[in-house]
Amino acid sequence: MEDRKPFEIQYVRSQFPALSQYVYNKPLVYFDNAATTQKPLVVIDRLKLWYELENSNIHRGVHYLSQQGTIAFETARKTVAAFLNAKETHEIIFTKGTTDSINLLASSLGRLLVNEGDSVLVTGMEHHSNFVPWQQLCLEKKANLLVAAITDSGEVDLEDYKSLLEKRPKIVSITHISNVLGTINPIEEMIRLAHEYNIPVVIDGAQSVAHQKIDVQALNCDFFAFSGHKLYAPMGVGVLYGKEKWLNAMPPYQFGGEMVNQVSIKETLFNDLPFKFEAGTPNVGAVLGLESAIHFIEMTGIEQIGLHEEQLLHYALEKLKEIDQIRFIGHPKKQAGVISFLIGNIHPFDAGMIIDKLGIAIRTGHHCAQPVMERYGIPGTMRASFAAYNTFEEIDIFVAAVKKAALMLS
């Protein structure tokens, strides 16, 4: 670590206008990054430029703005492909978010592979967006949803995972990083194990893509889904990476303009990849914003960001341990910058209300992962999650606030 370049946190922060605001007359401490990140100026400016000067509907248009917009949009697709190290640019499908990406898969890949009596394998730490679509697919197809167990420390029980693989599920879909526990799953190994049975693996990368370098070819995952808005990009854009062979084999999901090659009253011929999966006017502005967010990340350095967040995590864990009756929910060996905790029997919602009044944005509740809450027999947690722009001082303010809440509520 000695020779890494100094991470210029003040410079990073200066690029995020939202961070310099006051909330209840207190400087905002934004620790709700697992829900969504703030946006750097390059992203906001990109959106503005698009709408002020470049806006038009792309593809098939002969006129200048439409041409330029098409080139910009397809260049952004290349940027995303390079960012994930996808083999082919047309393996990148733009969606509206992780939820949209996974619903696309549950529908299209589900129709391709899952029949009555088959099964689909997920883990017990999935976000609802990577759980309910598969659960509902299984209900519809009279298939079985297999759920790999979670250990007390908040890790996937790999033995259970292996034994469930022996049931030969048709699809495995697992989260890279848990949005509740912060667990970084050993997806390389989990993918390898699934591939021994030739089972395609979907990775829910919503919580990982902003925090570590993703190389889909090295991972060898079959699909990788994420949301722009958790990656410093605007809302309303997500990505589904898929291996070409799967995307070609899958039936389309939505139907409409652009995804169609030829339509007659009788039948429809669908367009090639990636357009086959992009029905309707795309969210060009947000896609260009996503490209700018990727540039921001590359300028800042994804390894630097990851390292910084790791230091924040360890500092926060140490500091929080000073609090009486602190209970960490999950203490996995490999943890990302996400901490879920409780204080004694204080309801997280009570504590959350008080911490809010101190200008600190954390999230309380079940974090759209009720099976995890069920697993630990708790109504919810308090969750702090970090991004590139967070500081050690903010952690001090946060820990002081937690202490105050604990005092008021015990």
Binding site: H347, F349, D350, I354, G365, P379, G380, M408, L409
Partner: protein, 146 residues
């Protein structure tokens, strides 16, 4: 005391607090004082949905006046429910139906009134009014039958 009078009393009490801390400390105290619901009613049937914390609410009617009891697993939520109970307890269904709840805004709990606020203050008020509605119908029907 009329509903309005209790509301005014609460407004007066809250006006003594200088900052939100005192206010929340007061709500926490009120939470501890909440007329605890009989355990037989702490079931899903009496659960108010749309809250991040769970709230159970029960109402009984003596043919004239309604009394409420409640519980929640979050103490601030319980404090807020208790405020509502203090206001509505011992009133007739018609009085409860006619009452407004603007006092919540005046004591600085406006943020809790947003329909999407996850503590479900709005759902609680709705539920109390629903009880009042039911008992109101019951009593008018009985009158008819008589």
């Amino acid at each position: 005391m009329t509903i309005e009078q209790t509301q005014q009393q609460i407004i007066d009490e809250f006006s003594m607090f200088d900052d939100w801390m005192d206010k929340y400390n007061f709500l926490i105290e009120m939470g501890k004082d909440c007329p605890i619901i009989d355990t037989q009613y702490k079931t899903n049937n009496y659960l108010i949905t749309g809250c991040q914390s769970r709230v159970w609410l029960h109402a009984s009617y003596d043919g004239n006046l309604i009394s409420f009891s409640a519980d929640s697993d979050a103490v601030i939520t319980k404090g807020i429910v208790n405020l509502l109970i203090r206001v509505f307890n011992g009133h007739s269904p018609e009085e409860i139906l006619a009452a407004d709840t603007a006092f919540l805004d005046q004591i600085g709990l406006k943020e809790h009134l947003s329909p999407t606020r996850s503590n479900g203050l709005v759902s609680m008020v709705k539920q109390m009014k629903l009880y009042a509605q039911v008992y109101h119908l019951k009593s008018t029907q009985q009158t008819k039958h008589e």
